[in-house]
Structures are given as structure tokens and as C-alpha cells.
């Protein structure tokens, strides 16, 4: 014969178990909703499926040369996404085992921006009265006469925002840093001819050098950087 207080304890435990089960289920649903809200499903790159032949200017630390080599790679058609994908493929080449210009694995570029040349800007016109809609009047800042002038109209300045993790892990040395920059510039020149000048940022900020040597503050003119005949 089961005593009355034992039955009460038993049913209390059953209720607690069911309550705990319901609470667990409810918390699980909440966590799943929270994670699904945080997930960014915004499409970044246009979908692309077909591969195309592109030229990559690949550096070699052995003899300090840049060699143009052909690769079959699928690239997006949008120009900034294309530039970013090109540079990430370049970084992937250098991260492969046995690379002659070994760099640490990981993405090289955060963003690539294109700015039409010559670069102009707008400054706040302190002397003018605010407009009716409350906007502060601005005046056009003409191109800097001391800056590198565009060689042909319609060309663009590419601002390459490198990842801090890539720059911080880059090997230090005059030649190895110079080869990395030349490889980037040469690859852009071979595949995106509308780029005339390149400026580098690191995590959105100007930085003096890549790893203590190569200048990242200057404006680079895009050109063919290959020093040996093309190979395959």
C-alpha cells in the first residue's frame, strides 16, 4: 500500500519533470530564433558559375621575380566583387603548401572601392546659410594639383582595404613585401584595365608599411609588374 504522502511527492515530481521539459523546449525555441535573427543572409557576391581564364602575376621569393600565369577561375561580374575575388584567389595561391612566396592562409582583402579620377571632394561651406531643408551647404574641393593626375579620362583609383590579420602575419623584408605589392598591382592591371592608381588601407586606416618596409601610404600607379616571360 502506497502511502498518501508518497503519492503526493510522486505527482509533484512528475509535474516538475513536465515543467522542466516545457521550459527546456521554450528556451530552445528562443535560442534558435535568436541565432536565425543574427545570421546575415544578405547576398554579397553575385552568383557565378562559369570559369574564365585570368592572368595572375605571381611572385617568387627564390629569384625575386613576378611571373604572369594563367588560371581558370569563376569570378563575379560586378567590378569591386571581381577585384576582391581576384585578390583572395591570389592570397590562396600563396597560402598553398610549397608556394614560392609563402604567405599565411586567410583572406587578404576586406573591401575594394573604386573612385573615379581625378579625385574630388566636398567640404562644408561655413560661410553659407543652411538650405531650406536643413542641409549644410558644401562646396566642391578641386583635385589636388600635387597628386598623381589621371593619364586617361574615365580611369579609376582602386582603394584596397587589406585585412589587419593578413598584414600582421605578412613576412618582413624589403623584397618579400615589395613582391606582394607588385603581385597585387600586376594582377589588377592584367584583369581590370580601368584601374590606373591603387591606394592601400589596413582595416580602414592608413598604415605606414606592410611589415616594416614597403610603403603603404603612397599612391601606386598600376602597371605591368612581370619580370619574366609568362608561364603556365
Amino acid at each position: 500500500m502506497i502511502q498518501r504522502h508518497q503519492r503526493i511527492v510522486f505527482w509533484c515530481l512528475v509535474v516538475c519533470i513536465l515543467g522542466m521539459g516545457l521550459l527546456l523546449f521554450w528556451e530552445r525555441q528562443r535560442a534558435r530564433d535568436r541565432v536565425s535573427q543574427l545570421a546575415d543572409n544578405t547576398p554579397i557576391d553575385a552568383p557565378y558559375t562559369t570559369t574564365e581564364s585570368i592572368t595572375m602575376d605571381l611572385a617568387s621569393d627564390d629569384d625575386g621575380t613576378i611571373t604572369a600565369q594563367q588560371r581558370q577561375i569563376a569570378l563575379p561580374s560586378e567590378v569591386t566583387a571581381r577585384a576582391r575575388a581576384l585578390l583572395d584567389h591570389l592570397a590562396a595561391e600563396y597560402a598553398q603548401p610549397g608556394s614560392v612566396h609563402p604567405l599565411s592562409p586567410g583572406a587578404m582583402v576586406d573591401d575594394v572601392y573604386f573612385v573615379p579620377l581625378p579625385v574630388v571632394g566636398y567640404s562644408i561651406d561655413a560661410g553659407a546659410k543652411p538650405s531650406a531643408d536643413g542641409n549644410t551647404p558644401t562646396s566642391l574641393v578641386p583635385p589636388d594639383p600635387d597628386a598623381l593626375q589621371p593619364q586617361s579620362p574615365g580611369d579609376e583609383l582602386a582603394v584596397i582595404n587589406l585585412r589587419g590579420s593578413f598584414v600582421n602575419a605578412h613576412p618582413s623584408g624589403v623584397e618579400v613585401e615589395q613582391l606582394t605589392l607588385q603581385s597585387i598591382i600586376g594582377t589588377l592591371h592584367a584583369n581590370l584595365p580601368q584601374i590606373e592608381q591603387v591606394r592601400f588601407l589596413v582595416d580602414g586606416q592608413p598604415r605606414e608599411t606592410l611589415a616594416g618596409h614597403a610603403d603603404l601610404l603612397r599612391l601606386y600607379m598600376v602597371r605591368d609588374t612581370t619580370t619574366t616571360a609568362a608561364g603556365h
Binding site: D146, V174, E175, Q178, E208, T209, G212, H213, A214, R218
Partner: protein
């Protein structure tokens, strides 16, 4: 006299060089910057009006060499081996070079002579690369040697700026392209050093590179990157190897001292004539 003989006998080399140069060049070796007249452009007693229109060469201290041992302090540069970093190699190399240049009569200015260099007015603030360029530019030296070291390759690697050269030095020069007027002289200095290293049988590589802060220097500037003499990275600290490289560079500097040509200063374009002046001219010549 062969170049190698001159290197073995620095005193004889100095006498040979001093005897072979004109006195007008010798007078330029003063502590204060003295413009060296370019042939045929400046008269011996130029009139006051000509002095304001004829381009003058940029002053140059032919007895001063600036050495910049790269990195220092928290910036150790590249790793040469497990126990050796670039900043220590460049400093040791700079000390050797300084003693040899001083013995040849040069005044040597170093941007750092200890592990870390700090600003004069703020002892806790390390020198930036721009500060180092500023130290060099204030001296108006005959040469600026930026000393680096690497474990890659072998011998000595020489680099000069790859920015586009200009015909002269404008009155207002952008900081990031200040080297433009000196690129030609930097190339000549690089070839001078390369010849000396080649004769000393040091493995050599040379080229152009964008190395901070060489583009901001207003002097003949060469990046000298010391690499190991052989396959073993530890040979970069070999005393006899560093001595051989330093002697070759110091010997080249003796010759360079009298070959360097400062670029002319580009005068600002005068503003167009005022309308009143042109109107008066029209009235006088109807």
C-alpha cells in the same frame, strides 16, 4: 690606380681624390650648406636681379652622411634567425660603417645609436619614420643610407626609390614625393656603391622599391639591405663579412663625395602681369 688598391690604403685614396678634384669643389665641404655653382649658369659676381631668376642648386653638405639603422625598440623588423632580429643587425652594421666613414673624414649622423630612438622633446615617444626622414633632410647630406637586413638571399641588396623623377626641386615639395628631385642622384650613388661591392666580390642585387621613408628624403638615398654571405643566416653577423661590406661602401662614399650634384631649385612661376600694367603698356604703344 685600381680601386681595390685604394680600398686597401684609405689614406692614399683620400690624397688621390683630393689632388684630383678642383678647388671649387673642395670649398663646398663646409659645415654650412654652400651652393655649388653649376657650370655656365651662375656668374662669379651675379647681379642682384639675376640672383633672383637663375635657379640655384639645392645646398648640400658634402662632408655629411646620414645612416638610418632601420627599426628599433618595439619594432624589431624581420626575424633573421631564432635568436637574431633585424634591428640588432642594422645597428651593429651602422656602427661599423660609422667608424669607417668617420676615419675617412665624414661627419656621420645616425638616426639612432641605441636600441630605440626617441623624439628630442618627448623622450617617451619613439621616432617615427617621418621623424627619421626629417633628421636626414635637415642635415642636407651628400648621402642617406637606409640600413636593413634580411635572411633571404645572400650578399647585399641595393634599392632606390621608384617614384618618377623631376627636373629640379620645387620650392614647395610634397612630403611623400620629396625624393623625386633626387632620384637621378640616388641612382648614381647606387651604381657607385654597386661597383665598389662588385670589386670587393660581394654578391649583389639591386633594383627599385618603395621603402618607407626613402620617398620623403631630400638627398641621394639608397636602401642597403644586408643579407647573409652564405646559406647560413648566422653569417650575417660575421665580423669580417660586415667589415668587407662596410669598407666597400665607405670607399664608394669617398668617390661619391665629389661626384654628387645637387638638383637646382625650381623657382615659383611669377604671377601673370596685372591688368593695369598691360593697359598702361597698350596706352604707351597705341
Amino acid at each position: 690606380m685600381p680601386f681595390t688598391d685604394l680600398q686597401r690604403r684609405p689614406a692614399a685614396a683620400m690624397l688621390f681624390v683630393i689632388a684630383s678634384i678642383p678647388s671649387s669643389v673642395l670649398f663646398a665641404q663646409t659645415a654650412t650648406p654652400t651652393p655649388t655653382p653649376t657650370s655656365g649658369t651662375v656668374a662669379s659676381t651675379p647681379p642682384a636681379t639675376a640672383a633672383t631668376t637663375v635657379p640655384q642648386p639645392v645646398p648640400m653638405n658634402r662632408g655629411v652622411v646620414v645612416l638610418d639603422p632601420a627599426h628599433g625598440g618595439v619594432d624589431s623588423g624581420s626575424r633573421i634567425s631564432d635568436t637574431l632580429v633585424e634591428k640588432d643587425v642594422t645597428l651593429a652594421f651602422a656602427f661599423k660603417l660609422r667608424s669607417l666613414l668617420t676615419s675617412r673624414g665624414f661627419t656621420v649622423v645616425m638616426t639612432r645609436d641605441s636600441d630605440a630612438a626617441f623624439e628630442a622633446n618627448s623622450p617617451s615617444t619613439p621616432l617615427s619614420l617621418d621623424d627619421r626622414a626629417g633628421i636626414a633632410n635637415h642635415q642636407r647630406p651628400v648621402a642617406c643610407l637606409l640600413l636593413h637586413a634580411t635572411s633571404a638571399g645572400s650578399g647585399v641588396h641595393l634599392y632606390t626609390s621608384d617614384i618618377a623623377p623631376t627636373a629640379g626641386e620645387p620650392a614647395l615639395q610634397p612630403w611623400l614625393t620629396a625624393q623625386a628631385a633626387w632620384v637621378g642622384e640616388s641612382g648614381k650613388l647606387e651604381r657607385q656603391i654597386a661597383t665598389a661591392l662588385d670589386r670587393s666580390r660581394v654578391v649583389l642585387a639591386s633594383g627599385n622599391a618603395a621603402v618607407r621613408p626613402v620617398d620623403s628624403l631630400t638627398c641621394p638615398a639608397v636602401v642597403v639591405e644586408l643579407a647573409p654571405s652564405g646559406d647560413d643566416p648566422a653569417t650575417i653577423t660575421d665580423t669580417s663579412y660586415q667589415q668587407k661590406v662596410s669598407e666597400a661602401i665607405a670607399g664608394a662614399m669617398v668617390f661619391w663625395q665629389h661626384q654628387a650634384q645637387a638638383p637646382v631649385r625650381i623657382l615659383p612661376v611669377p604671377p601673370p602681369a596685372a591688368p593695369a600694367a598691360s593697359a598702361a603698356a597698350t596706352e604707351s604703344n597705341p
